[in-house]
């Protein structure tokens, strides 16, 4: 084969690969589930404190937030109105959209609402967040572009059920959801201080939130129309475009995780405490990060242990992006990184930060492990179903309904 022919084949293969399917369907599902779960857990945990963190009882009040946002033009639906009722609505919507994104119900719409919830709350009070919030902030935007509901979702189950139908259904629920979100957006645009602009103050230079949100809304309608009335080429092209966007966003997610570890590792190499092998000793003795002092004392009792963990942290973080070239090395690193973050969750009292990082790491989980988990959960569901068949009477009605595992794993 001549080099030019080989190049041609490679290009054609790459073309086929990025357009023919949304790659990493299970990985993107795990990322979706991981981040929506983390944010949902956080919102529920902060329920008693919600009005202090983001609402009318906050030391960072609405006027102060308005002054800051006037300068940086960040997006927050909470700034559309200063009423306490509106705050409660937004907080409730953030909870509901996280839960529905978690189970994969109307994933496309929920991913957008999830993003709106994350940005609205975090940008309202940027000084109560930490690195975990920052990661959720970024990923909530990337998730909008990924087809993260292809597996392990209610959407996937519904699609499988109507697989034998020749014609896509009218989908009344989808139409209602589309009309409701459109009406809400129109209300925000016309009757609030939303300042949704076509070209200014958006997520990226030259791209306003009005363009983004109305654009997503129109694409939703276009997709429905194409599926129903234009099968064949328009349908194929739309599918390919969605795959291209998904694969691009997935690439960005993976690159961001690499960047996270690379930058964390490279900066650490320059620090004297990471060089002398005592760095991990110090955070364990900060009052804000030591929920279990006795645990920290046990760990800090061995200088060798602290030194090994300190060096190990830097080595793993710096090495991680390069280990992607080798599957086994990558998997070993992934296990180490996840274990380290489980440790951080407990030792430093940073559970939400750690969950967010683990959710991001999950994009690199090997497919065979995910398939294995899928099979196990599927078997567990089948066993549950079988047991319910054997227990007639009261239980019979329940068995008609899907178990939680069954809704997520087909």
């Amino acid at each position: 084969m001549t080099p030019s022919a080989r190049l041609q084949t490679a290009v054609a293969r790459g073309y086929a690969r990025v357009t023919a399917s949304a790659l990493g369907p299970r990985q993107s599902a795990v990322v979706r589930i991981g981040f929506s779960f983390t944010w949902l857990l956080f919102l529920v945990r902060e329920w008693p404190h919600r009005r202090e963190l983001y609402g009318p009882d906050g030391p960072w009040n609405w006027d102060m937030a308005a002054r800051l946002i006037d300068g940086n033009r960040a997006f927050s639906a909470l700034m559309w109105s200063d009423s306490a009722v509106w705050f409660e609505i937004v907080y409730a919507l953030a909870i509901v959209s996280s839960a529905l994104l978690l189970v994969g119900w109307r994933t496309r719409t929920m991913s957008v609402l999830f993003m709106i919830g994350v940005l609205s709350l975090q940008n309202r009070s940027i000084f109560v967040g930490d690195g975990g919030d920052n990661l959720i902030h970024l990923m909530s935007m990337y998730l909008v572009l990924t087809r993260c509901g292809q597996m392990w979702s209610l959407d996937a189950r519904r699609a499988a059920r109507r697989a034998d139908r020749a014609w896509p259904p009218r989908d009344t629920t989808g139409i209602v959801l589309w009309a409701v979100t459109g009406t809400a957006l129109l209300w925000a645009q016309l009757f609030t201080e939303a300042r949704l602009s076509l070209t200014a103050d958006g997520p990226l230079p030259g791209l306003g939130w009005a363009t983004v949100l109305w654009g997503l809304w129109l694409v939703q309608a276009g997709w429905w129309f194409v599926r129903r009335y234009a099968p064949g080429e328009p349908r194929t092209v739309s599918d390919a475009l969605a795959n291209v966007a998904h694969n691009g966003a997935l690439l960005v997610i993976m690159a961001e995780v690499c960047l996270l570890y690379a930058s964390a590792g490279w900066y650490k190499i320059q620090g004297s405490r990471w060089q002398d092998g005592t760095a991990l000793y110090y955070p364990l003795h900060l009052d804000y990060f030591s929920p279990w002092p006795w645990l920290a004392d046990i760990m800090a009792s061995s200088g060798t242990l602290v030194m090994v963990l300190t060096y190990g942290t830097v080595i793993v973080q710096v090495a991680f992006p390069f280990t992607l070239l080798n599957r086994r090395a990558k998997n070993a690193m992934l296990v180490l990184l996840m274990m380290e973050h489980l440790g951080i969750a407990v030792m430093l009292g940073l559970p939400f930060f750690s969950l967010a990082v683990i959710a991001a790491d999950s994009v690199f989980l090997p497919t065979n492990v995910l398939r294995w988990a899928e099979a196990r959960l599927g078997r567990a569901r089948d066993r549950l179903a079988a047991r319910e068949v054997r227990l007639p009477g009261q239980r019979a009605r329940e068995s008609d309904e899907e178990t939680p595992a069954g809704t997520l794993v087909r």
């Binding site: 293969r13 000084f127 930490d130 909008v144 572009l145 979702s153 989908d171 194929t236 620090g271 990060f289």
Partner: protein, 265 residues
Amino acid sequence: MADTEPEPAEREPTGPEPHDGEPTDLEPTDPESTESKPRGSEPAESAPDGDAVEPLSTLSLPAQLIIAVAIAVAAVAAAIHLSAAFLNVSPPNTLTKRHGAAIDDYVYPEFERVWKLFAPNPLQQNIAVQARAEIRTSDGGTATTGWRDLSAQDGAAIHHNPLPSHTQQNELRRAWEFYVGSHDVRERPQGMRGNLSEQYIRRIVMLRLGREEDGGTVERIQVRSATTPVAPPPWSDEKIDTKTVYRTLPWWTVTSDDLPEAKRR
């Protein structure tokens, strides 16, 4: 920057798309396709729902062109986005000096990254924020309360708490970072952020002290930080001074704007 292109990602809200696993004859069996890397993972299981998806190679020229342009746009967008992300976390360098404004314009406000976790060095000192109040007593006199360690209250709330709240772990701690970052050594506020940070600190203090303190009405408050270096580990022969150093701010008069429960609307 795949984000500039919201359109193709949107799809009907009803679940996965069907597609054929081997869409073209151009893709031979790839030994890596069952590999674990997400990029190399197998395509989603087909969920055929009746729509026939044509192999891409049989598409008309305009359709092929649209897809080709979309791929180019996505590739360029991702490249720009990741370059900006890289330059956002990198130390100041030739490129950031030349294009700093453009990078900031791109990254802020939604794509900022605050990731220098425990780097280059972890924090090695406990910084406690403390406050005291000047109160007007019922008999008309004034008195000054003792210092209250608000960070110690946070620490007590975090102690044995598997799920610390952001109100305990971040609120005061980050407010103080905000204050320090927006004031010079003579406690003069730098711009709007400086003024906002002062008001923020006052409101946090008043939220925690309350309007009434030690049987009087709080009229003025004073805030200080107490910085205590963490002692070196027992196995280290390093000697450092672990004496607490104070940074004391001037007295602030409390106004109704500083009372969190004051609802002026």
